[in-house]
Structure formats: C-alpha cells, structure tokens
C-alpha cells in the first residue's frame, strides 16, 4: 500500500527489484553517457542550461500530477490551467484586467492571483470528484475542454507580447549563472518530496490512494485529502503557466501547456509512481521528467525529426509502465 520498500535499501539478493526500483536512475545515467559519446558539445554549460530550463515546467506540473495520482486520481486539465494562468498574468500587469496601474503592485497581483485561480480550479476538480463521485478522467475533462476556451476568450485568442523584466525575473533572472526558474523547480521538488515523505498529509495521501475504503475506516478524511491534492496540482500548474509566459515574453492561449498532461503523467509513470495510486516518489518523477527531456534533446540534437521523437516517447511510456507492472506487482 505505502512505499515501505523504498524506505530501506533492498535486500542483497533482490537484484531484480533493485533494478526495477532504480530503472529511472539507470535510464537517466545511460542517456547522459550516450549523449557524452554521440552528441557534440553535450558537456557544456549551455547544454545543461537549455535542458534545465526546458524541463522546469514539466517537472513542476509533474510534481502536482504525482500528488493527484498518488491519491488515486488523474488530472487532464493541467494544460488548460496553465493557459488560464498564462493569459491572466499579462492582462493584470498591463492593467487591462482589474485596472491596476501601480507597476509593483500590478506584478505582485499578476503572480499571486493566477496561483490562487489555479488553486480554485484544482478545488473545482476535486469537488466534482469527491462530492459527486465522478471519475477523475471525466471530471477533469470538463476543465480540459472549458479551460483553454476561457483562456482564449480572455485574450481573444491573440498573442499577448510584453517586455516586463520585473515580472519575467521568475524565468529569466539568473543567480550564479543559473536561471531562477531552475531554483523554483528545485524548491517545488524539495517541498513536494518533504510533503509526501515526512508529513502526516503525505501518509494520508498514499493511504487514500492505496485503499480508500481502509483509509476511511482508520479515520482519514479521504475527501479532504483528495481535495487538497487537486488544489496543489492546480497551483503548481498555474505556476508552470506563469513561468512559460515569462520565459517567452508572450502569452499564447492556444499553445501554453498544450499536451503537457501526457508529459506529466509519463514523468510520474517512468519515475515509478503507481498509476493506480498509493505509491509515489517525487524524486522519481523529477528523474522521469529529466529522462523525457533528455530523450527529446538527444533525438533533436542528432537530427531526428520532432515527429519521430513522438513515436520514441510513446515507446518509452509503454515500456516504463510495462516494467513497472512486471516488477513492482
């Protein structure tokens, strides 16, 4: 039910399980080695920086997704939430929405309000699922369909270009040569891992996902736990949306977060989080996202077209889930 096995080092003879447990780490190292051999200029600061910035949004969304999956659910609406947050922020700091003219206050609201909205959208998903007992796929489908439409209606479907260093610092500013968004990502991973491994909420979450009926009987408020999981996922999706538009200096409601739900689910699955709930690892999700990013980078850097990269990704997802099923169960 819970991830007891991952808490202690596996038994010496239990090589197969150890292999399954560290599949994602091994895959990651293998990819790095492969790239050192075949990709020119791989071991450069520039390459590392590019990969880290590109993986940021996937990691942030995937951490939220891991919480939802651990609780026994799924969230298809993460991309739409990103689009709404990404559409709201420029509308707020340009004063088009709410009419805030003070630049500092405008930027603060432009960061805080989208996060709050993201949390509310997550709560909305959670409410549909816990209160009406609607399956997570269907319940989050509503926001998946509606959310992007709302973002498009807000911006009239047009590209919003802006140049606001005071807002864009969340993506573009650098500390010791490393983009701030990387620190944000690391903070999210660290806090997520702490929440899942070291707090009561984390224990409750895994119990609710592993066996909801049993969790209810021992007195866990499963509804509340799930509601919080969706809210976390919503806030993190909104954060990822803000980072994307800040990085691009433009917000396109048609494209922000498009298809990211699959990357996020795949990252969690590759990392070893059980898709049926009850077993999750944030560090695994982080490595899973890195594997996805590295595979894409390896293919692109070696001249393989983007469309073929899609096929590769599909094969990797199937293999990852397959390996998980074979060894863990």
């Amino acid at each position: 039910m819970t991830d007891l096995s991952s808490q202690k080092f596996p038994q010496f003879g239990d090589l197969r399980q150890a292999l399954a447990q560290y599949t994602v780490g091994i895959a990651f190292l293998a990819l790095v080695l492969l790239n050192l051999l075949i990709t020119p200029n791989f071991a450069s600061m520039n390459t590392i920086s590019v990969n880290l910035t590109q993986v940021c949004t996937i990691v942030i969304v995937a951490v939220g997704m891991t919480f939802v999956i651990a609780s026994g659910g799924i969230d298809l609406s993460v991309g739409s939430t990103m689009a709404i947050a990404g559409a709201l922020a420029p509308l707020i700091f340009t004063g088009a929405f709410l009419g805030i003219t003070d630049p500092f206050f405008g930027v603060v609201v432009a960061i805080v309000l989208p996060l709050v909205v993201g949390g509310c959208l997550g709560l909305f998903n959670g409410f549909l699922i816990t209160h009406y007992n609607i399956q997570p796929i269907v319940a989050t489908l509503v926001l998946f369909v509606t959310g992007r439409g709302i973002a498009q209606v807000l911006t009239n479907g047009s590209l919003q270009v802006f140049n606001r260093p005071d807002f864009q610092f969340i993506a573009l500013a650098r500390l010791w040569g490393i983009p701030v968004q990387v620190f944000i990502m690391l903070a999210v991973v660290f806090l997520g891992a702490f929440l899942l491994r070291k707090t009561l909420f984390g224990r409750y979450l895994l119990a609710s996902g592993g066996n909801a009926a049993a969790a209810k009987m021992v007195g866990i408020n499963v509804r509340w736990v799930r509601l919080v999981a969706y809210a976390i996922c919503g806030v993190l999706s909104a954060l990822a949306g803000l980072i994307v538009v800040a990085r691009n200096g433009a917000s396109d409601a048609n494209l922000v977060g498009l298809g990211i739900e699959l990357d996020a689910i795949a990252a969690a699955a590759i990392g070893g989080t059980l898709l049926t709930g009850g077993r999750a690892t944030i560090l695994g999700t982080f490595l899973g996202a890195c594997v996805i990013q590295l595979v894409r980078y390896t293919l692109l850097a070696n001249g393989v077209p983007d469309s073929a990269a899609l096929v590769f990704k599909a094969v990797i997802i199937i293999l990852a889930v397959r390996i998980q099923r074979k060894h863990v169960n």
Binding site: L128, A308, L310, I318
Partner: protein, 342 residues
C-alpha cells in the same frame, strides 16, 4: 481511480421493484438528451431563417458524420470500462494514408484508411489485454505514436487526394439527398444498436464492463471482447480519417487533436457511465447531435448579430454542457445507489 459504483448489467433488473427508480433514471438520461435535442431544434426553427433548410441539414450531417463515427467506437470501448484516447491520432494517420492511396481508386483509399485505424486498434488492444497497461495510458501513447507517424509520412504537410478517381465523391457526394458519410455512419449506428441492445454479444460486452472478473467466471471470454472493442474503435477512427481526407480533399496529419474528447463528451452526455457496464448507442447518437447542434446554433446566433461570440466560446459552451450533464448523471447514479440499499 475512485471507487467504482458499477451496477449489475441489467438483464431483467428493471422488473425488480427496488430497481424501478434505477430503470427510470437510466431511461431518463437517454430521454433527456433527445428531449433537449428536440427543444433545441424547435428553438432553432422558430428563431433562425433557413435553420431547417436543405443546405444547413446537409452540411450539418456531413460535418458531424466524422464525429459520429468515432463516438460509436468510443461508446463500445467505454461500456467495457475502458477508454480510447487514440482516436484523434488514428484518424489523422488514416487520413494521410487514405489520401496517399486515393489515386488507386475509391475502395483502396477507404480500405487503407480503415486498415490504418485498425492497426492502431490492434496495438491498443495488445497493450491493454496482453501487456495489462491501463487503457488511458496505453491509448495516450498510441495517440502520440500515430500522430508522429502521420507527421513523418506526410513530412509535416497535408497530403492532397487524387481528383482523378471518385474518392472526393465519398466525402462530398450524396445518396438520395443525404451525404454519403452520414448514410454510411447511420447504417453503422443501426448495426451498433442491434449488437449492443439486441444480440447476445451485446449482453456479454455489457457484462465485461459491469465486472470483468465476474463475467470471466460466468464463462465470457473477456479478453476477446476487450480486444474486439479496441479494434472496432480503431476501425471507426480509420473510417473517420478516410472521410476527413475525402471531405477536405487532403490528408491532414495535424487534424484530430481533441477529437477523443469530443467523442468521450458525446458518449457521456448520452448517459453512458464511464465506469462501464451500461450504455446506449442511441443516446450516444443523441450526444453527438446535441454537441454538434450547439456549434451550429452558435453560428446562426452570430449571424443574427445580437451577440458576437468568437469560435472560442464553442469550447466554453460545450464544456458547460458537459459539466451540467455529468453532474445530473452523478446525481442520478447516487440516487440509484440509495435505491439499491432500500
């Protein structure tokens, strides 16, 4: 996943007085869809000129035949408790291949398109049945793979169909005043209704959705049934792809995104539970027409000039409808649970 409140697939269950409310609820959803549909048509007829004109009706059915096809396949997958997110990608791949085969004639074009869809279906079935991978993740992966393949084959561009053969006719022509794709899909819907509601096979399909283990113990070959529904869904997606290529005169590798969600929405609006075990082909058709009609009426309403809603409102309104329908459905399901425990 949440706890599944799967009910026993209801052979004769309606005669049990305790299940009266349940039976009422079940029919109520299908009735509600068709009643809403009727009201909308009435409203449209009274409000807009030419709403029931030959041109609008023709283009409505022509346009929605594609969505009806994938929704029929989706309906069968969903009643077994599965889901197929690959229909959009499969249709895109099929449209590219059908366009490439169109110089060899009408039938080769259709067969290649349907065959391509079928291959994706077989892949889905293999992943779900043999590899025991959760349907939504398996079909999401094959969706990626088929979109990627379609883009690779077509070199990221749409592929023109041959105008030498009558392939275009298949998408744009008519039989006795009705668009050919709509007639074809209509016949398939009648067949689907016969299978699901009138034949022993339909009972078995519903039984698998109601409880896979139980039906296996009863002697139903559950693996075969699940294999079959995914292949059927793939075939329907392939057909939709062939129709798409014939209608637009080109295979479209980038088309098809979001189709799976339209199909799921149509099935859900039609009252089919996503937990499997029950569902209706007729209500699914109602769901398709209802979602299509919303878009059609939005166009007419914009034409009136009172409001000016951009096309982006379409997804907001569709999502709103979806929300209302699933909440009502959930209420009915909860009432049914209560009725069961009387």
């Amino acid at each position: 996943m949440s706890i599944n409140h799967t009910s026993v697939p209801g052979a004769g269950g309606a005669r049990d007085p305790n299940n009266m409310r349940a039976a009422l609820g079940k029919n109520a959803m299908g009735l509600a869809v068709w009643a809403t549909l009727l009201l909308m048509v009435l409203f449209g007829w009274l409000r807009y000129d030419n709403f029931l004109g030959a041109y609008n009706i023709f283009s409505f059915f022509q346009y929605n035949a594609i969505f009806a096809a994938i929704s029929l396949g989706m309906c069968f997958v969903i009643v077994t408790g599965g889901i197929d997110l690959s229909v959009g990608g499969a249709a895109a791949l099929a449209s590219v291949l059908a366009a490439m085969a169109s110089p060899y004639g009408v039938m080769p074009g259709i067969i290649v398109g349907v065959g391509a869809g079928m291959c994706v279906g077989v892949l889905n079935a293999y992943c779900v049945v043999q590899m025991r991978i959760a349907p939504f993740i398996a079909t999401l992966a094959t969706a990626l793979a088929s979109t990627g393949t379609a883009l690779l084959i077509s070199n990221n561009q749409s592929v023109g169909v041959s105008y030498e053969t009558l392939f275009i006719e298949f998408g744009q022509g008519d039989w006795f005043g009705m668009p050919i794709p709509a007639v074809l899909v209509g016949v398939l819907f009648v067949g689907g209704w016969l299978v699901l509601s009138r034949l022993p096979l339909g009972r078995r399909i519903l039984a698998v959705g109601g409880g896979e283990d139980a039906s296996r113990l009863m002697g139903v070959r559950t693996d075969r049934i699940i294999f079959g529904v995914y292949i059927f869904s793939g075939v329907m997606a392939g057909l939709a792809g062939a129709i798409l290529a014939a209608q637009f005169g080109a295979g479209q590798p980038t088309e098809g995104t979001g189709w799976e969600l339209f199909a799921i929405a149509a099935v859900v609006v039609g009252g089919t539970l996503l937990t499997g075990g029950e569902g209706s082909v007729v209500a699914t058709l109602g769901g398709v027409l209802l979602l299509g009609l919303l878009f059609n009426m939005l166009n007419f309403e914009n034409g009136k000039g009172w409001i000016s809603l951009s096309a982006y409102w379409q997804s907001v309104i569709r999502g709103g409808f979806l929300l209302v329908f699933i909440v009502v459905q959930a209420k009915i399901a909860q009432g049914r649970e209560a009725a069961k425990h009387l």
